[in-house]
């Protein structure tokens, strides 16, 4: 039994009042407590952005690295110690923009981490530019005539790449999101949870009211999560009705289970064998 309070810390939070990140933060804390994981057994890895600051507001191990690069850091950490429980926090610009290549690679590797993308469809840390998930025409100071590009579709991308656990959460549905995060962390393999996040300062379109009127929970709609084609249809559903919940799940072989060297246990726990090394040196 792990108490939620163990995850609280008193480090000053600098998010805007009403930020969607608070809902996500609370859902993460609740998920970790529900999974009975003590803080010292959890590792949070993040990139750069308001989302990536999340680890500072919990009480656990973390590596808050570079913009876009959280997934390769997580890959290295998993190679060193495959037993680590890793949650990756990134924003939409961080993950889908700067880190796009790493996302593709993590999907192909089936890196066994849970990726939470705080997707508010705008750049918050740099004060309001269009992001990869901003809708076409979304106007900002940097895009005064509206975003020229179309929004990317992370759910459809993940489906197209064979990801085995794909979900969409919403920052305003904290308990539901907590359950998704728990399921993602229990899933052996790469789990992507794209989280609809409200930005109260820079995104006047995708507000709490906007989402509250449109979202519906897939668990209540009895969506068949093993049906890839049904999932792909859902991936493109947007507008009046926005599906939230587990979109697709299938059994896969995680990254660290694919590497023969790791069958003998985590690299960090393997003993140093100077005699064997010397023998290899002598034989070239």
């Amino acid at each position: 039994m792990t108490y939620l309070s163990l995850y609280h810390n008193d480090f000053e939070n600098k998010w805007c009042p009403g930020c969607g990140n608070f809902g996500i933060l609370n859902a993460v804390k609740s998920a970790l407590a529900q999974l009975s994981l003590p803080p010292e057994e959890v590792l949070l890895i993040s990139g750069i952005g308001q989302a990536a600051k999340t680890p500072h507001f919990l009480n656990c191990n973390f590596f808050h690295g570079l913009h876009g690069r959280a997934l390769p850091v997580a890959t290295g950490a998993k190679l060193a110690n495959q037993d680590l429980n890793i949650l990756v926090h990134m924003g939409d610009g961080d993950c889908y923009g700067e880190g796009g290549n790493h996302l593709l690679a993590a999907m192909r590797r089936n890196l066994d981490v849970t990726l939470l993308v705080h997707n508010n469809m705008v750049y918050g840390l740099t004060k309001g530019q269009a992001s990869p998930t901003s809708e076409h025409g979304f106007a900002t100071k940097a895009q005064p005539f509206g975003a020229i590009s179309d929004a990317m579709n992370p759910i459809a991308l993940a489906l197209s790449q064979g990801v085995g656990f794909i979900a969409r959460g919403y920052c305003g549905e904290k308990d539901h999101l907590s359950r998704l995060i728990q399921a993602g962390m229990e899933y052996p393999g790469f789990s992507l949870i794209d989280i609809l996040q409200v930005c109260v300062s820079f995104n006047p379109v995708n507000t709490y009211a906007y989402y509250n009127q449109r979202i519906y929970l897939l668990e209540e709609a009895q969506h068949p999560t093993e049906d890839w084609h049904a999932a792909m249809d859902l991936a493109w559903q947007w507008g009046e009705q926005i599906p939230v919940g587990l979109i697709y799940k299938k059994k896969t072989t995680p990254f660290t289970k694919r590497i023969k060297t790791l069958e003998n246990g985590p690299l960090i726990h393997r003993s140093h064998a100077p005699a064997a090394i010397q023998k290899a040196l002598d034989n070239g």
């Binding site: 808050h64 570079l66 390769p72 850091v73 290295g76 950490a77 037993d83 680590l84 790493h102």
Partner: protein, 574 residues
């Protein structure tokens, strides 16, 4: 040197130049000789002109040669390109088609061997390489048993027929030149192999293995790929994973992640890839995560000359990434030092929690040479980690605690009660981001404080005829050429010595001063345009080089050129 013979094998990429060269190198090694085999190739898979040069001696070979005794021309172009470097009396073994015209002054030196025709007779044209090796060894007077032994090691495990056919091919090559006179044919010493025959890339990979490196991540890039290819070979027997990343940015971040999580980790790349890694090097700097990065230099900028050599990245790696943070830069001068430098790099990276950059180059990684020392894997690996049991109160652990040495106790995440908190932002002692003046100054000062003890780890340059009036100053893989140049100049009664650096950063100011203070003048010799080491010496010691010998054509430095330039300089100075 009693024996000093140079053999060049040239042809189009894909013709098996390296196969012939490696066979010859193995035979020479087995026969107790020393060799230096350099590779010169264009950035292409087929065609063009490539060559491998083997300098063979009964004493250690430190530098490539600029004269040829024996040329194996697998095509006509090879003859045309290398004819000028042939010594009088040198021999050219031609693939039978398209030799030079009879009026050509070298026509009498040409022997048409017909490698492919003979190979077909031996059982298949694929064995043309073995025919060529047999012919060369025949010219050099090698005992026939040596090639047989090498072929046995190579083919015995495959099939008896293959071995037999190759042995036949080698014999046919030898027989084809049996009646050809060769002025430099020599008596082979009947002795066991001296040292080990290895490439620079292999030496670096073996160093990583000996250092107990557990994770390596890379993105393929010439001339660094070979290092990782050699390391991958150990993945099935050791706790080691080598991962091909999605790019150099991914590679360096994986290395940081693996090291943060508690194992020794490294990457290898060339300048272009290192450019992409610079932010990651900075990440290692501010998060105080130990990493080892090898930069095998090639000429740049951008794509530059992908398969050629240079020393143009010294200033770059010393300053790579924005702002300032401590790091080491080591530029090993030979195989033995490269092996030792990788072991040392991991040790220093963990002891001081800093990035360590190893600078080598294409000439070094792609050349084969003979080691001079016994190579020993460290019995114990000191990890400089702090477990919970060594903390007064693990729950109060501070990853970036201010200490007298600047080095904070380093714990591994999820290894105990201590929570390890790390950020690329400036931070407080706990690891939370902070913008206070006290934390900023405190952490910058803490990181820079490490430089005091780091400076004490640095070895000064080596000197050779160090009390000479004129000193040649260089770094990294040109060491052998400078030594040979000095040797040659000394024989001609020139008062010239050499000073060469391996450890370059933190810059060994006092050692450099004392090595250079006794001479009247010094010249820097470097494979870059501006004499980057010369600039550093001047910056740190106030001593300007009197002249610089620079070369940036992508080709290895040659002794003859250094000797000539030094003589010219002394001529003018007089």
């Amino acid at each position: 040197m009693g024996i000093d013979v140079t053999v060049t094998i040239g042809g189009a990429a894909g013709q098996g130049i390296q196969t012939v060269g490696e066979l010859l190198a193995s035979v020479c090694h087995k026969g107790g000789l020393f060799i230096l085999a350099t590779n010169d190739f264009e950035s292409r898979i087929r065609g063009g002109h490539s060559f491998m040069q083997l300098r063979i001696s009964d004493e250690p070979v430190a530098a490539p040669s600029d004269r040829n005794h024996l040329l194996v021309a697998l095509n006509r172009e090879t003859f045309d390109i290398h004819a000028d470097a042939m010594l009088e009396g040198g021999r050219i073994l031609m693939a039978s088609d398209g030799g030079p015209d009879t009026e050509n002054p070298l026509a009498d030196n040409v022997v048409n061997v017909g490698f492919t025709r003979l190979a077909k007779d031996a059982g298949g044209k694929i064995m043309a390489n073995t025919v060529a090796a047999g012919a060369v060894l025949g010219m050099l007077g090698a005992p026939s048993g040596l090639l047989y032994k090498v072929l046995q090691e190579r083919f015995a495990a495959k099939s008896a027929g293959l071995l037999e056919n190759n042995q036949k091919a080698g014999r046919m090559g030898r027989d084809a030149v049996a009646d050809t006179a060769f002025e430099w044919r020599f008596d082979w010493p009947e002795r066991s192999p001296r040292g080990r025959l290895l490439s620079g890339a292999q030496a670096l990979a073996l160093g990583a293995l000996a250092a107990d490196c557990r994770v390596a991540a890379f993105y393929p890039m010439s001339p660094a790929t070979g290092i990782m290819i050699h390391l991958i070979a150990f993945m099935d027997r050791f706790p080691l994973v080598v991962e091909q990343a999605e790019g150099e940015i991914g590679a360096i971040n994986m290395v940081v992640g693996a090291s943060f999580a508690g194992v020794r980790a490294m990457t290898a790349t060339s300048g272009g890839g290192f450019s992409l890694m610079t932010e990651g090097i900075g990440l290692a700097g501010i998060t105080e995560t130990p990493v080892v990065a090898i930069n095998a230099q090639r000429p740049g900028p951008a794509t530059g000359l992908p398969t050629r050599t240079a020393q143009g990245d010294l200033n770059f790696v010393i300053h790579a990434a924005q702002d300032e943070f401590p790091r080491f830069v080591l530029a090993p001068r030979n195989l033995d030092e490269a092996f030792a430098s990788v072991i040392r790099a991991f040790h220093l990276a963990e002891k001081y929690q800093v990035p360590v950059i190893i600078l080598v180059d294409q000439y070094f990684t792609d050349s084969l040479a003979i080691t001079a020392q016994e190579w020993t894997a460290p019995e114990t690996i000191e990890r400089f980690l702090t477990p919970d049991s060594e903390m007064a109160d693990p729950s109060a652990y501070k990853r970036f605690a201010i200490t007298e040495s600047g080095v904070s106790p380093r714990a591994v995440p999820c290894a105990g009660k201590a929570r390890v908190m790390v950020t690329a932002n400036e931070h407080n002692e706990e690891g939370h981001l902070s913008e206070t003046i006290a934390d900023r100054n405190g952490q910058v000062n803490k990181r820079n404080l490490k430089l005091v003890k780091m400076a004490g780890e640095i070895n000064g340059p080596e000197t050779y005829y160090g009390d000479s009036r004129l000193l040649l100053v260089g770094w990294g893989s040109t060491d052998g050429v400078l030594r040979e140049a000095v040797e040659r100049l000394q024989r001609e009664n020139y008062d010239v010595g050499a000073v060469t650096f391996c450890d370059i950063w933190p810059f060994p100011t006092n050692q450099a001063k004392s090595s250079l203070s006794g001479c009247e003048q010094f010249l820097t010799v470097e494979l870059n345009g501006s004499s980057q080491l010369g600039g550093l010496i001047r910056q740190h010691t106030g001593m300007p080089a009197h002249e610089t010998i620079v070369q940036y054509d992508g080709r290895p430095l040659l002794t003859g050129r250094v000797v000539e330039q030094v003589k010219q300089y002394l001529e003018v100075a007089r």
